[in-house]
Structure formats: structure tokens, C-alpha cells
């Protein structure tokens, strides 16, 4: 009995040490990521508003759609997505590998460099000095610095895995490890095929490589990080093991095998080798498999835990994220069918799909992880359950509206007009009006949600929450049966020490 107690104390001490070692870099990534998300949404609102009210902010050319749209996507990907991913990767990998981070200062410094260069890149895009390459709109020099900075951040996740304690490797670790390795490969490939070969490669293949890059970042970086988070949060909060480890491994390999082939369906009809877009379309359809594996595992794991689901914000966001992944992959598959691609290839559906993937799937999983991680690394409970609930519902309403109204309905209507040869293409502008207004409305909902989240997160970093190492529950506080252990265990331990 005493051996078990001593082991528990050691375990608690180790977890507390890991959390403390990562407090500043992880909080920095989450907070700055949340600020970039708000900036990205503001830019998205401007871009969207200008598609239905072109005179809006027309005094300043830096707010033109052609500049705000790439700035909006770049801040969403490199400002929010990448940084939320880095924070989750570092914390989860350290926790699962049971290793403290020894170089948090270096990671924090790299995080500052990352943010400074995302800022410089965004300004360059807004001032008309971007590259115009979708998802790689920052100038080449900025992209190179971001790539180098990533190595200073990602290497510590690899080191934590390399020196891990304990024999078992969790499914989340496989996903995280893959994302850590895929990300630089994708980034370097993107840089090589677009920037360094610019002028040497065939212009169509340069464009094709950017299409591949977008898809690879989505499926091979954002997706594995989000799935890893879901596979960590779900069993942790419910106190049950993942329903099927084999199914999770199967989902992982399905993602690893099909993910890298996707993306080039966006080049359908262009004069590149004809098999490429078809192979990509097939791969996108097959990417439903990892989504189904995740959804089955998450739902089966939380089965009979409806009270826990209702009370845990982490779990609510994670389940919504898993559902978002299913919606995203099903929509991607449908839109990649060669017959449907005729309508969707150049319609607004593609942008809506990207938003569904990044906001409806990835971001929801990241919010789930952040609501779980932040109370642990700050030793404070979230200040307001109401703010979390409002964040959840406003975000859900916003992204659901964008997915259903703008992406599915608007995308089809737009594609239908484009496929009518007798219709003047300018007629599409009139048809797009309600959907463009709908997108702005959806963005406003999401911006309100993110404002709640962002301010809440900053207050947490100021450590204004109630002292606790438990996650905030939406109804009442942690019970004795909580899988996170009794309240105040870490404080007791620290005072005893």
C-alpha cells in the first residue's frame, strides 16, 4: 500500500514538474495563437465583407480582398494553427513520454521569433509584398525563418520521445511523432518546389505543388495533432482506455497512407499528367476512413458517460472536433468526386471546406486540449464556466452556418452557375451575395466566441483563476470520483516538499 502511495506521489510530482517546465512556452503558444486567431477572423470578416460590399474600407488598398484573404489564411495557419499545434505537441509529448522539458527558455525564444516573423509576413502580404502563393503567401525569407524556427521547437518533442520513460507508446504519441516529422518535410517540399525552383520548374507543376502543400498541411499536420489530442483527452476525462487501440492504429496508417496523395484534385483539367488529379481525388475519398475510426473510438469511449460529457468542456470540444473531422472528410470526399469537382473546383465551396477543416475540426480539438492543459500548467481553474459555454455555442453556430449555408449550399449554387455556359459569369456575383453575407455573419459569431476564449486565456496566464489543478467542469466542481485525482493533491505535495 505504501509502495503504491509513494509511486502515486512520485507520479504526481513528475506530472507537476512537467507542467511547470512547459508553463511559459505552452502558454505563450496558446495565447499568441489565440490572438492570431482573432486577427485572422478580423481579416476574414474584412475580406468577406468586401465580396458583398466592395466599397467597404476601399480607402486603403491594404484591405483589398486580394491582400486580406491571403493574410487571413496565413495568420490562421501559421499564427493560430501552427502555434496551437506546437503547444499541444510539446505538452502532450512530454506528458506521455514522462519527461520534463529542459529547454523551455529556448522554445520560448523560438516562439517569439515565430510570432515576430508571422507578424512581418502578414504586414508584407497586406502591403502587397507577399508571394501570392496560397497558404505560402509570406515572402520567401519569412518562410525560411519560420522553417528554421520550427526545428528549434519541434526537436524538443522528438527528444522527449527519444528519452521517454516507460515501455508503452500511446496512440497519441504515434500521431504526434508523425506530425512532428511530416511538418518540416511538407514545409521544405513547399519551399523547394515553389520558391527555390521558381522559374526553373514548369509553372503548372509549381502551382500543383502548392495545391499539394495545402492539403498536406491540413491532413498531415493539423489532422494528426487534432486526432492525437482527441485520443488523449477522451480517455483521460472519462477515465477509460481508448475503445479500440487496433482501430486507432488502423486509422493512423490510413491517414499516413492516403494523406500524402491528396490535394492535386484541385488541378483537375490542368495540363499536368492526368493520373495525378484522379489519384488525389481517390485519396481524399479514402480519407474518410481515419475519420470514421476516430469517431467510433471517441463515441465508444464516452458511451455511458453522458454526465461527464455534459460537464467537461474539454470533452465537449473534442467530441465536436471529432464530428467536425467526419463532416470535413465527407464533404472533401463528396467535393472531390470527378462529377462534383466540375461544380466545386472553382466555387466558394473550396474556401468553405478549408474553414470547415481548420475551424470546425482542428480548432475544436485544440480548444478541447487547451481547456484541459491550461489549468494544469497554470495551477488555476478556468475563471468562468459561462464564458466557456458561450465560446462553445457561438463557435458551433458560426462554423455550422459557414459549413452548411456557405460551403454546401452556396458552393453548389456558385458551381451550378459556373457550369451553365449560357449564363454570364458575372451573374454568379448576384447569386453569391446572400452567401457572402452569410459568411460574414458566421465569422462574426466565431469572432465573438474567440474574443471570449482569448480574454479568458489571458486572464488565466495572469493566474487570476482559483487555485486548482483540475479542469473546470461546466456544472459544479471536481468530485472525489474524478479521474484527475482528489482536489489539491499537487498543492499538498508542493507544500510538503
Amino acid at each position: 500500500m505504501s509502495t503504491t502511495n509513494s509511486s502515486n506521489i512520485e507520479d504526481t510530482q513528475l506530472r507537476a514538474n512537467i507542467d511547470r517546465s512547459l508553463r511559459h512556452p505552452v502558454m505563450f503558444f496558446f495565447t499568441s495563437g489565440a490572438v492570431w486567431l482573432a486577427i485572422s477572423l478580423l481579416l476574414g470578416i474584412i475580406a468577406s465583407a468586401k465580396t458583398h460590399s466592395p466599397e467597404f474600407l476601399s480607402c486603403c488598398s491594404c484591405f483589398n480582398v486580394g491582400r486580406t484573404m491571403p493574410a487571413h489564411m496565413s495568420t490562421l495557419i501559421y499564427g493560430w494553427g501552427a502555434q496551437a499545434g506546437f503547444g499541444v505537441i510539446l505538452w502532450l509529448m512530454s506528458r506521455l513520454s514522462r519527461q520534463e522539458c529542459k529547454q523551455s527558455g529556448l522554445i520560448l525564444a523560438a516562439g517569439h521569433v515565430w510570432n515576430i516573423f508571422v507578424g512581418i509576413g502578414t504586414l508584407c502580404v497586406l502591403l502587397g509584398a507577399g508571394t501570392g502563393i496560397t497558404w505560402m503567401a509570406f515572402p520567401k525569407s519569412v518562410m525560411i525563418v519560420l522553417c528554421l524556427t520550427y526545428f528549434l521547437i519541434g526537436i524538443w518533442a522528438l527528444i522527449a520521445f527519444r528519452v521517454r520513460r516507460g515501455g508503452h507508446i500511446y496512440i497519441s504519441q504515434w500521431y504526434l511523432l508523425a506530425s512532428v516529422l511530416w511538418f518540416p518535410w511538407i514545409l521544405l517540399s513547399g519551399l523547394a518546389f515553389t520558391h527555390f525552383y521558381l522559374g526553373d520548374g514548369h509553372p503548372l507543376m509549381v502551382t500543383a505543388s502548392t495545391a499539394w502543400f495545402r492539403s498536406a498541411i491540413m491532413f498531415l499536420f493539423f489532422t494528426p495533432v487534432a486526432v492525437a489530442s482527441a485520443y488523449y483527452i477522451t480517455p483521460k476525462v472519462t477515465g477509460r482506455p481508448v475503445y479500440s487501440y487496433s482501430l486507432a492504429i488502423f486509422g493512423f496508417w490510413a491517414l499516413a497512407i492516403f494523406g500524402p496523395w491528396a490535394g492535386m484534385q484541385r488541378m483537375m483539367g490542368a495540363s499536368i499528367p492526368a493520373f495525378i488529379p484522379y489519384l488525389s481525388a481517390g485519396a481524399v475519398i479514402l480519407l474518410i476512413i481515419p475519420a470514421i475510426a476516430l469517431v467510433i473510438n471517441v463515441l465508444k469511449t464516452v458511451k455511458d458517460s453522458s454526465e461527464t460529457v455534459a460537464n467537461s468542456p474539454s470533452l465537449k470540444f473534442t467530441i465536436a472536433g471529432a464530428a467536425g473531422m467526419l463532416v470535413f472528410t465527407v464533404m472533401s470526399a463528396f467535393m472531390s468526386l470527378p462529377d462534383a469537382l466540375k461544380f466545386t473546383q472553382f466555387s466558394i465551396a473550396q474556401y468553405g471546406l478549408e474553414l470547415t477543416g481548420i475551424l470546425g475540426f482542428f480548432s475544436m480539438c485544440m480548444f478541447g486540449a487547451i481547456y484541459f492543459i491550461v489549468p494544469r500548467i497554470t495551477n488555476r481553474e478556468w475563471i468562468s464556466a459561462t464564458m466557456i459555454t458561450q465560446h462553445y455555442w457561438l463557435f458551433i453556430y458560426g462554423i455550422a452556418f459557414i459549413s452548411v449555408f456557405y460551403t454546401a449550399l452556396g458552393g453548389f449554387m456558385h458551381g451550378y452557375i459556373l457550369e451553365m455556359p449560357t449564363e454570364d459569369p458575372s451573374a454568379a456575383v448576384g447569386r453569391l451575395f446572400p452567401y457572402a453575407v452569410g459568411l460574414t455573419t458566421g465569422f462574426v459569431f466565431i469572432l465573438f466566441a474567440v474574443f471570449m476564449f482569448c480574454s479568458h486565456l489571458m486572464l488565466m496566464w495572469l493566474r487570476l483563476g482559483r487555485r486548482s489543478n483540475h479542469p473546470t467542469l461546466l456544472a459544479g466542481h471536481a468530485s472525489h470520483s474524478s479521474p484527475h485525482g482528489p482536489e489539491g493533491d499537487i498543492e499538498k505535495l508542493e507544500s510538503a516538499k
Partner: protein
């Protein structure tokens, strides 16, 4: 699953598509050889020589930097991928006065001279692959009306119809100015002072581009391409704007191609 299995699987699952989808096609397409004309169908045996004009380097760079690809595409897809070729003016025109049916799909040589193919993300605005041809067609239509109004006969002495260049030459300074038209569009797409006033114009959501124009003093009648003239000031295009306009009005992806690459193989034998 062991770490070794993981790494082998990861490298194989990522490396193979990376080679097949990116590296090999990229290398292959770098040295794309031009197709040869067919003696039977084309009545010539030389190699296809794609012709591109305009400010391809600076103009296309500004086109990308200003994010025109967000709303405009530059591709006419084959019919299996979309109905682009059937849309009048997009892939060419059905009844060109000199060349007949010029419609065709976009080919790999249509982007010659550009760093990357501005295929585009969406078609919120019209496809610009043949924007230059559409502006030419608009110029011809307006010039014909002006010529008729001025009593200029559109038939030459040998009874053949006048070409677009001949009509423009006959009109002299009163001819429709394509560059001025595009400058005005870039300055304010909702400008009412367009020369094609009276045509059914759909309200445009295209962005105004004040960054392309600068205010200078006005002396005399004003600069040729001034988009706005007030008593002592005029708004004239910058160098970047001139490059972009030069690029745009030269966007013509309907040049004759060998028989084997044509959209309609029954119509265009001996295409010029």
C-alpha cells in the same frame, strides 16, 4: 508497432507519393518538348511555337501579389472537367472574323514565361485566361459603332470587310483605347465613366485599386491615361499598374495549336 516499423512505414507512405505526385512530374515537366504539327491534318511539319506577349515577369508578379487569383482563374478545362470551353469568350470565340472557331482548352505552354501558373482559387470574378481577346472583341464592337456613327464604311475598296486594326486606324484618336479601359476598371470597377456605357453591365464586386494610381499636377489637357482629371490635378497610373495592364490585355490563350491538341478536331484542319 515498434519505432522501427513506424519509421519505415512513415518514410514509405510519405516518400512514395512525394516522388510520384511531386518530384518525378516536376522533373519531367521541366523539360517538356513542344509537339510537332501533323502533315496530314495541319498541313505543316514544324514544331508548335507558343507565343506569349506582355509583361510576363513583372505583370504576373503584381497579379499574384495583389491576390487576383483569389477571385479570378486562368484556365479553360477540358469538357470532362467542366463546361468552360462552351462558355463564349472563355476558351476562345466560336465565330472569330479571321480564324473561325478559336475555342480550345488551356495547354501546358500557355503559361510559358510565368513563374507559376495562375490557375486561381475561385471564380468569383470571370476567368481571365482570354481577357485580352475579350477586350479586343469589345474594342471592335465599340469601334464599329463609332465608325458607323461617323459614316466610315466598314468595307474596303476590294469589298472585303475591314479588320479590327483597320477600323481602329480609321478612327484614329477616337478609337476605343483598351489600356485606358482597363486602367479605369482598376481605378474604380464601378466607375460610370466607361466607354461601353449603355451595354448591360453587371454590378461588379471587383476591388478598387488606389495603390496603382498617383496624383500629379495637371498641365494642359491631361495625361493620355489619366483616370480622373480635376482642374489642377490628375490621377495617373503607376509603373506597376502599367505592367499589370500590359499583362492583362495580353492574356490570350486561344492561339492555334496542332490538330491533336485542338478542342474540336473536326473543324480546324490547317489552323493558322
Amino acid at each position: 508497432m515498434t519505432v522501427k516499423t513506424f519509421f519505415i512505414g512513415l518514410i514509405a507512405s510519405f516518400g512514395l507519393p512525394w516522388l510520384v505526385m511531386l518530384a518525378i512530374p516536376f522533373g519531367t515537366m521541366r523539360s517538356l518538348s513542344e509537339p510537332q504539327y501533323d502533315e496530314v491534318n495541319d498541313e505543316r511539319t514544324d514544331f508548335y511555337q507558343p507565343l506569349r506577349t506582355g509583361s510576363l515577369e513583372t505583370g504576373s508578379l503584381i497579379y499574384r501579389q495583389e491576390g487576383c487569383m483569389t477571385c479570378h482563374t486562368q484556365v479553360t478545362r477540358p469538357s470532362y472537367a467542366g463546361a468552360d470551353v462552351f462558355r463564349e469568350g472563355q476558351g476562345g470565340t466560336r465565330n472569330d472574323a479571321e480564324r473561325g472557331d478559336t475555342r480550345r482548352i488551356t495547354n501546358a505552354w500557355d503559361f510559358e514565361g510565368e513563374y507559376m501558373a495562375p490557375i486561381g482559387d475561385s471564380r468569383i470574378g470571370p476567368d481571365l485566361g482570354n481577357f485580352g481577346n475579350r477586350v479586343d472583341a469589345l474594342a471592335l464592337e465599340i469601334n464599329k459603332k463609332k465608325a458607323l456613327k461617323m459614316g466610315i464604311a466598314l468595307i474596303k475598296e476590294d469589298k472585303s470587310p475591314m479588320t479590327a486594326q483597320e477600323i481602329a486606324a480609321a478612327l484614329g484618336r477616337k478609337a476605343f483605347d483598351k489600356e485606358a479601359y482597363v486602367y479605369k476598371h482598376l481605378y474604380n470597377p464601378r466607375n460610370e465613366n466607361f466607354e461601353d456605357k449603355g451595354r448591360e453591365r453587371v454590378w461588379s464586386v471587383c476591388q478598387a485599386n488606389p495603390q496603382f494610381f498617383t496624383k500629379v499636377g495637371n498641365f494642359g489637357q491631361g495625361a493620355k491615361f489619366a483616370v480622373d482629371i480635376k482642374c489642377d490635378q490628375q490621377v495617373v497610373p503607376t509603373g506597376d499598374c502599367k505592367s499589370l495592364v500590359n499583362y492583362l490585355i495580353n492574356l490570350k490563350k486561344d492561339g492555334a495549336v496542332p490538330y491533336a491538341m485542338q478542342y474540336s478536331q473536326t473543324k480546324q484542319k490547317g489552323a493558322k
